[in-house]
Amino acid sequence: MIVGDSKPLEEILEMIEGKDRVLVLGCRGCVTVCNVGGEKEVGILATALRIARKMRGLPGHIEERTLERQCDPEYIEELADAAEGYDAIVSIACGVGPQFVAERFPAARVYPGINTTFIGGALEHGVWSERCQSCGNCLVHHFGGLCPIARCSKSLMNGPCGGSANKKCEISPEVDCVWHLIVEKMEAMGRLEELERVWPVKNWITSRDGGPRRRVREDLKQ
């Protein structure tokens, strides 16, 4: 899923300063699963904003709404009757949400209420970890199911570098050395000799480096 972090309340208050009618807009997609932008978090943020504004004696009216998804025009369309009536829309979807809302309703003032951080998964309740960098050419099966591109700080394909110590990355004891994990896993699988291969230079054109990406499926287009 796409994982995000709430923006600090102060930052959001500053964004909507002087805006009378405000909509906090959630999404039932990834951000619901990672507990940052679903219906529940819409309620929490809206309440926090109301209280903060009230305590500071600021006027204003804050509404709540959550769409099925903010990355599909058909759900954005549900706002058609209301969107331009707000002075501010705070989207707490991933970075796609505020862009899709702003694109569909050109007069609306749309603000991002969360920071989109990475593509990852939940390790336990309340803990998420980055697992994919969307490089566009998945090779994890060669590395025991672990991605050296997303999970090595240097994206080395021929690791581990000389900074690997006690299973940790040189940048921080909080960061696992994924290459240590790869070596251990491949050894346990009896596949260590596969790591003797010198991996050739990677083609990053499918990655973000090749420019903004777009995908067209002729079989699905109408």
């Binding site: 240097k154 994206s155 080395l156 021929n158 940790k168 040189e170 070596v183 790591l195």
Partner: protein, 309 residues
């Protein structure tokens, strides 16, 4: 001869090679480079010029290399993958060799989180193993990475680094073998303090015949003080400083700790040279202590340096 560098000639003639290291200044002070170089002249066969080591901005390695050449020393141009993509890496090796640089050391580079610009973006388009393959292709096939012909191929003696003390230990010789398979002509190891562990590493390398394909130079850094020894042991990732070395330094007067560190370095070089098969030389990294490199090399009985035509 691949590059005809002094380092290559010394190794080819079968001499026990000695390389040194020089960190460029944090400014454009060319005089500082000349000053440090002066201490290494005639002491080592070639001098590594670091490339923004520990991700701290310094004078460009290639430029400091050129200053060394003008001073009559031979540089080893260190290049890290952190700061430039495949276009810049290939361009820089062409420029460097055009200026007379003949040795290169291919590194991934310390992550920028260590340095003085931790907010920066990193590149890592290639890794160090891939960088070796690119330079080998340019030199031996006269082609860029994209197979286009070069107008003048870089004759370069290709080096790489190896850290026998990083984890996982059992995979370290495999990674060394990968660098050699990729095309490394010489290897310089990380600073060695744990001799038994290095002995085991070298034994495994020799068992695989790696020392016959590539010159392996053992990395030596003199410990200046107990403080430095403790810092290296605790805070430098992949560094293995045994407790008994720390104790040995603690056992002497504070003012004499530097001398003791030099003594330790000399003893280590002698032990490595005399008792470890497969080691082709030493890489003496007297970091910010260039003026004492001579004592170490001389003390180890490695002066004068051979002159090979």
């Amino acid at each position: 001869m691949k590059a005809g560098s002094n380092l290559e000639k010394v190794l080819k003639a079968g001499h026990f090679a000695v390389t040194g290291e020089l960190g460029p200044p944090r400014g454009n002070n060319a005089e500082e480079v000349r000053h440090k170089a002066h201490f290494l002249k005639g002491v080592v066969d070639s001098v590594n010029i670091t490339d923004n080591q520990t991700a701290v901005v310094r004078m460009a390695s290639w430029a400091a290399c050129k200053i060394l050449i003008d001073e009559g020393l031979e540089p080893n141009y260190q290049m890290v993958c952190r700061d430039r993509n495949r276009i810049a890496l290939q361009s820089d090796i062409l420029g460097a060799t055009a200026l007379g640089i003949k040795n290169v050391l291919c590194l991934s580079g310390d992550h920028q989180r260590f340095g003085d610009h931790p907010e920066g973006k990193n590149v890592y388009d290639l890794d160090s193993v891939q960088l070796i393959t690119v330079f080998k292709k340019m030199r031996d096939e006269g082609k860029f990475l994209n197979d286009k012909e070069l107008d003048g191929a870089p004759g370069v003696f290709i080096g790489a680094a190896a850290n026998p003390f990083a984890d996982p230990f059992d995979f370290r010789v495999t990674r060394l073998a990968k660098k050699i398979a990729a095309g490394a002509d010489f290897i310089q190891t990380q600073c060695i303090y744990n001799l038994p562990k290095f002995r085991e590493y070298m034994k495994r390398a020799v068992d695989k015949g790696l020392h016959e394909k590539c010159a392996i130079l053992a990395g030596i850094t003199p410990l200046k003080s107990v403080g430095m020894a403790k810092y290296m042991a605790k805070f430098v990732p992949g560094m293995d400083v045994p407790e008994e070395l720390v104790k040995r330094l603690q056992g002497v007067d504070k003012k004499a700790q530097g001398d003791e560190g030099i003594k330790i370095a000399i003893e280590m070089i002698q032990e490595i040279r005399e008792t470890m098969p497969g080691v082709a030389g030493v890489h003496v990294m007297a970091i910010e202590w260039e003026h004492r490199a001579k004592e170490i090399v001389e003390g180890a009985g490695l002066l004068p340096r051979p002159v090979v035509d």
